[in-house]
């Protein structure tokens, strides 16, 4: 065993041991989210934007609206695109180049929560059925990775959508910087990620905890307190009881961040 690996294993054991004893390094409860700070509207070139800080993790999301053609099978609906970019500004383990599977997974999980909650009324984004609709590009850019990029990205995206306005559209031209109305937002889906380390389960892992985790589950809940998306990742498996408990906690713990986001509406 290499000395580097040996040291890490010892460290990992320490983290798990502390958690077993009911302690997290930053003093949180097992089922407690880090402090959340939301700063919407930071970016004037975007139709909507938000900077989210989850502890020391920082993510910025921006919304761009454009005119496009609708999908042939949904001629009366606007279109939605979600992209996360794990640019190496945020972490030494990120890389430049085409998106990798980690990036794609996060993008798709965030996208699923937004899409399945029907938080955007896509019918209202239709300009001319079958011909012209608004397309909503949600771009998520982590700036500082201190654990749990999924939740920070998901919350930043929803916050930026709540912040977004539809530009004026006259004679076939978008008038950037002038707006006709707010983006029609009807729900506030919140993502909650839980890590499994050994047999312990904690919420919202900080960087060290995330590195030590064996598996994770993300649960997206909507305003009704229902689940609208979930995703298990990592190599460890979960007992059914663990899953049930995770769902319960996700519903409970989503209320506070949801309130926080709606505050700015």
């Amino acid at each position: 065993m290499s000395s580097e690996r040996l040291i890490w294993n010892v460290k990992k054991e320490g983290i798990i041991k502390r958690i077993k004893e009911g302690q997290r390094k930053d003093g949180r409860d097992m089922m407690e989210r880090r402090e959340l700070k939301v700063t919407p509207g930071l970016i004037e070139t975007a139709e909507g934007s938000s900077m989210v800080e989850l502890g020391d993790t920082k993510v910025i999301a921006g919304i761009k609206l454009n005119i496009g053609t609708p999908f042939p099978d949904q001629p009366e609906k606007g279109a939605l695109f979600t992209g996360v970019e794990l640019y190496p500004v945020a972490s030494p383990s990120y890389e430049t180049g085409p998106p990798r599977e980690q990036t794609i997974e996060i993008s798709r999980v965030v996208d699923r929560g937004i899409r399945e909650s029907n938080m955007i009324n896509l019918e209202e984004l239709c300009i001319e059925p079958g011909e012209k609709v608004w397309t909503v590009a949600i771009d998520i850019f982590p700036l500082d990775q201190d654990g749990n990029i999924i939740d920070a990205s998901a919350i930043a995206a929803v916050s930026a959508l709540i912040n977004a306005k539809i530009p004026k559209y006259e004679d076939g031209d978008i008038i950037r910087g002038e707006y006709q109305k707010e983006l029609p937002v009807t729900d506030t889906p919140i993502a909650s990620t839980f890590s499994k380390l050994g047999n312990e389960i904690i919420m919202d892992p900080a960087l060290e905890e995330e590195k030590a985790q064996d598996g994770r589950i993300t649960i997206y809940t909507n305003d009704k307190g229902n689940v609208c998306a979930s995703q298990k990742g990592g190599n460890s498996s979960f007992k059914r009881d663990e899953i049930k408990n995770i769902i319960k906690e996700a519903v409970k713990q989503s209320k506070k961040p949801r309130k926080e986001l709606l505050k700015n509406k």
Binding site: Q102, E105, N226, V227, C228, S230, K232, R240, I247
Partner: protein, 241 residues
């Protein structure tokens, strides 16, 4: 589209009850070249899975001195869907491959084969909803056929919600018009869930119900997996195909 009635008197459009699987057949060892393989039909899905390895891992920097690397590839053949699928890997396919590889990595004894890679290739030749579970089910049989030591066979199956009811193994119509889909993979030996995704809208109670129903589905799939492997070894002992 949403107007189609998916259930009538407790029966689904294809005649199934809420807790019924579609028909499944699995044949182990269909390919000569691969180290292990399986051909599976599940409802209208037709899937081939092939395993190569353990073999030397390239490029070298992906090698681990502590365990094998397991790669999983989920692939739609271009003609497997109504609108020809682009041969380039899709974002959907990459996500499915990732969570499937993670599920199998918990089940295969990777630590027995340091510095190597085990590659699992699945190809959907014909797709009719539920392909990720079907592919993973076939892959598990192909791994067993390759003689790779595992904690156990890993079946996979989805439960879903249509017209307010939790049902097993959505058909194509149900998948398109239903309210939720929850695919899982499951390790019967340990009663643990190794893969879980979900989209749609379910109360926490429905979610729990769906997980339990999907596990039941997995147990049925598990029996079919075991039968396929027994059949293979029966043929082998009797002199083979």
């Amino acid at each position: 589209m949403k107007e189609k009635k998916l259930m009538k008197k407790g029966k689904r459009l294809d005649g199934r009850g809420k807790e019924d699987l579609r028909d499944i057949t699995i044949e182990a060892g269909k390919l000569k070249r691969a180290d292990g393989s399986a051909y599976l039909e599940w409802g209208g899905n037709k899937i081939i899975a092939a395993v190569y390895g353990p073999r030397e891992c390239f490029p070298r920097h992906q090698r681990s001195p502590y365990k094998a690397r397991l790669d999983y590839y989920y692939r739609l053949a271009p003609f497997s869907v109504e609108d020809r699928a682009n041969p380039k890997p899709s974002r959907r396919g990459i996500e499915i491959s990732k969570v499937s590889a993670e599920a199998l990595s918990d089940v295969v004894f990777l630590e027995y084969f340091p510095n190597t890679t085990i590659d699992v290739y699945t190809v959907v030749l014909q797709a009719q909803a539920g392909t990720r579970c079907a592919a993973l089910t076939a892959a598990s049989v192909a791994l067993a056929d390759a003689g790779i030591p595992m904690k156990g066979l890993m079946p996979s199956c989805a439960a879903g919600k249509i017209e307010g009811e939790v049902v097993l193994d959505l058909s194509k119509d149900e998948d398109q018009c239903g309210e939720a889909d929850l695919p899982i993979a499951y390790l019967p030996n340990k009663d643990e869930i190794t893969l879980m995704q979900m989209d749609g809208d379910m109360t926490p109670k429905e979610y729990e119900e769906a997980v339990d129903l999907a596990v039941e589905g997995c147990m049925k799939v598990y029996e079919i997996q075991k039968k396929a492997l027994k059949e293979k070894y029966r043929q082998f002992n009797e002199g083979g195909e």
